[in-house]
Amino acid sequence: MEAGAGPTARERRARLGLLACAALAFAAALASLAIGPVTIPVEHVLTILWRAVGGSVAGPEIGLRESVVVLDIRLPRTLLGLMVGAATATAGAMMQGIFRNPLADPGLIGVSSGAALAAVLWIVLAAPLAAALPAAIGEFGLPASAFAGALMVTMVLHVVATRDGRTSVATLLFAGIAFGAMAGAGTGILVFMASDQQLRDLTFWTMGSLGGATWAKIAAAAPFVLVLLALAPLLARAFDALALGEAAAFHVGIDVERAKRLAIAGVAAGAGAAVAAAGVIGFVGLVVPHLLRLLIGPGHRLLLPASALAGGALLLGADLVARTIAAPAELPLGIVTAAIGAPFFLWLLLRRRAELFG
C-alpha cells in the first residue's frame, strides 16, 4: 500500500533535476571562463575569481594576462550569457504557462520581434544622429530602443487582447503573430535600406551574439532580468492552476487577471532585456522548458528555477560553440541555437504529436 506521505519518486527526481541544472550552469560558466583563444586551467579561473571578490588563497602564481582575460573579457560575457539564457528560458516557461500551450514563446507573441524592430530602427536611422551625441548616450541607444520596442508591443497587445478586464489568450496569441509579422516586415525594409556597414551590424545583432558583452550592458539588463526571476516563483502556483483553465484557476483562489498581467509584464521586461543585450536568440525559450517538463515534470515550483539555470547553461554552451568552432571568427549565436534547437524541437514534436495536439 502507498502511504501517501513523503515525496513521490517524481518529486525526488525533480529535486535532483533542479540540482543537476544548477551544477550544469556552474560547469558551463567555468567552461566559458576557461575556454577560448587562450586556455586557462580551471583552478586558475577559480583562484582568480576568489581573489577578485577579496578572498585570499595560497595558490598558483597567476599572470596579469590570465587575470585580465578572465575578469575583463570572459566574465562579462559569461554573466551576460547566464542572464540572457535564464531570462529567455524563464520567459518562455511563463508564456507557456499563461497560454496553456507548450509551443508558446515570447517570440510568438511578438515581444522579441518588437524589440528587434526597435533596435534595427536605431541602428539604421538613429545611429548616424547618435554619432553626434556623447558616446555614453550612443552606447545606450540600442538597448534602450529594444526595451522600448518590447514594452510597446506588450502594452499594445494588452490593450488589443483585454476587454472588460479579461485577457483573451486566443486574441493575444493571434495579435502577437500579427505583430511579429509586421515587425518582421519592418525589419526587412530597414535591412533593405541599410548601408553595408550597418548590414554587418544588423546581421550579427538580428541573429544574436554575446560578443558585445560589457559591464555596462550587464548593468542595463540586470534589473529587468532580476525582476523577472523574482516574479517567477511567486506565480508558480498560479501557473499550475492555470493548466486546468482560467475558470478552475479562479475556483481554487487564483486572481487570474492579476497573475496574467504580472506574467506579461515580467515576460516583456525579461525578454526585452535579453533581446537588447544579445539580439534575437531563438529556441532557448521553447526547448528548455519543454525538455525540463520531460525530466522533472510540469510543476512550475521547480520548473521555473530549473528553466532559468538550464537556459543559462544552454546559452553558454551554444556561445562556446559559436566562438570556438570557426575561431578566430565568431558565428552568430542565434545560428547555433537554431541549428541545435530546431531539429531537436521538430523531433520532439513528432515524438509527442499525439500528446500536444491530441
Binding site: E2, G4, A5, G6, T8, A9, R10, R100, N101, P102, R237, D240, A241, L242, A243, L244, G245, A247, A248, F250, H251, V252, G253, I254, D255, V256, R293, G297, P298, G299, E355
Partner: protein, 279 residues
C-alpha cells in the same frame, strides 16, 4: 448560507438568467434541474463568482463575494466545473494537489480524497492517460481536497458531476454529496438525471428560460405536471417509499414539437403554484 439573489445575466443581448435565485444551505444538498439552455450552469457559474451578473448579488455567509476576492472565496467553496482540460503532463496526485491552498503540501489529504473517489492506486499515473470517467473523478477529488481545506465545512458546487461516470460511480457521487452535507457543508449540483436528482437532493430547483420554474422537496417538484412543463415530455412519476419519486424512461414520450412548440403555446412557467418553500 450561500445565495444568489435576483440574478440577471446576459450574453450579447440574450438574457440567460432572468431574475433567478438560488440558496445553498449548510447541511443540505440542492439539485438544479431543467432543460438544455435553461441557465443551470450559468447560475452555478454566477454563484461560484466565475461570471459577474448584470443584476443581483451573490452572498456567502452574508458577505458579498465580489468583496471577498478569489483567494478568500476559495476558502469557503470548492467547484467542480463541467469540462476541465489539463494542459501539460501532470500526474493524478499533482492535479488533485492544485486544490490545496498556496504553499501547502498535504499528501495525506490528497490520498484521502483520491480514495474517496475510488482512485487510491492512481496517485502517480499521468492524468492524460486516464479514461474520461476517471479524469472526472480526479477533478472531484481535487474539489474535495479544496473543500477539506476550507474554513469550516464550506460549500461544494458541482456542475454535472456524473456526466462521464458509470452507474456505480454515479451513486458514489450521491454518497459523497450526502457525506458533505452530513458534515455540515452545503452542496449545489447541476444534474440532468432526474432520478439521481431525487436521490441526492433535499431541495430541487427547476430552471426554465433563465427563471426558477419550481422549487421544493423532490416529491413536490418531480410531478407529472412540472416535468411535462419543463421538458415537454409526458411522464408518469412513480413513488417507491422510502426513496421518493422516480421516472421510468420507458414510460415517457416527447410532446410533438418538443420544447419549442410548448413555449409557443405560451403555457409559461407555473412558478407561483409550485413554490411551496418560498418565503
Amino acid at each position: 448560507m450561500y445565495e444568489a439573489k435576483d440574478i440577471d445575466y446576459a450574453v450579447s443581448g440574450r438574457l440567460l438568467l432572468d431574475g433567478a435565485d438560488l440558496a445553498v444551505r449548510p447541511g443540505r444538498v440542492t439539485a438544479l434541474i431543467g432543460p438544455n439552455g435553461a441557465g443551470k450552469s450559468t447560475l452555478l457559474k454566477v454563484l461560484s463568482g466565475e461570471l459577474r451578473p448584470r443584476r443581483g448579488r451573490v452572498l456567502v455567509d452574508g458577505r458579498d463575494i465580489a468583496a471577498l476576492g478569489p483567494a478568500r472565496l476559495a476558502q469557503r467553496r470548492a467547484v467542480l466545473p463541467q469540462d476541465v482540460q489539463v494542459a501539460f503532463p501532470f500526474t493524478v496526485a499533482e492535479v488533485a494537489a492544485i486544490g490545496l491552498p498556496s504553499g501547502e503540501r498535504a499528501p495525506s489529504r490528497i490520498a484521502e480524497a483520491l480514495a474517496r473517489v475510488d482512485l487510491a492506486g492512481f496517485r502517480d499515473r499521468p492524468y492524460a492517460a486516464l479514461s474520461g470517467g476517471e479524469q472526472q473523478r480526479v477533478q472531484i477529488a481535487r474539489a474535495l481536497t479544496q473543500l477539506a481545506g476550507c474554513d469550516g465545512p464550506g460549500y461544494l458546487l458541482l456542475d454535472e458531476p456524473t456526466s462521464s461516470l458509470d452507474l456505480s460511480h454515479q451513486l458514489m457521487v450521491v454518497d459523497l454529496a450526502r457525506q458533505v452535507a452530513r458534515a455540515g457543508g452545503g452542496v449545489a449540483a447541476v444534474l440532468h438525471d432526474l432520478n439521481l436528482a431525487a436521490m441526492i437532493a433535499d431541495e430541487i430547483v427547476a430552471l426554465k428560460n433563465g427563471q426558477v420554474a419550481a422549487r421544493g422537496a423532490p416529491a413536490e417538484v418531480l410531478t407529472d405536471a412540472i416535468v411535462a412543463d419543463l421538458y415537454a415530455v409526458t411522464a408518469r412519476i412513480g413513488t417507491a417509499p422510502p426513496s421518493g419519486p422516480f421516472l421510468l424512461p420507458q414510460a415517457m414520450t416527447r410532446l410533438r414539437g418538443g420544447l419549442a412548440k410548448a413555449a409557443e403555446g405560451g403555457g409559461g412557467p407555473p412558478s407561483a403554484v409550485h413554490e411551496p418553500t418560498r418565503q
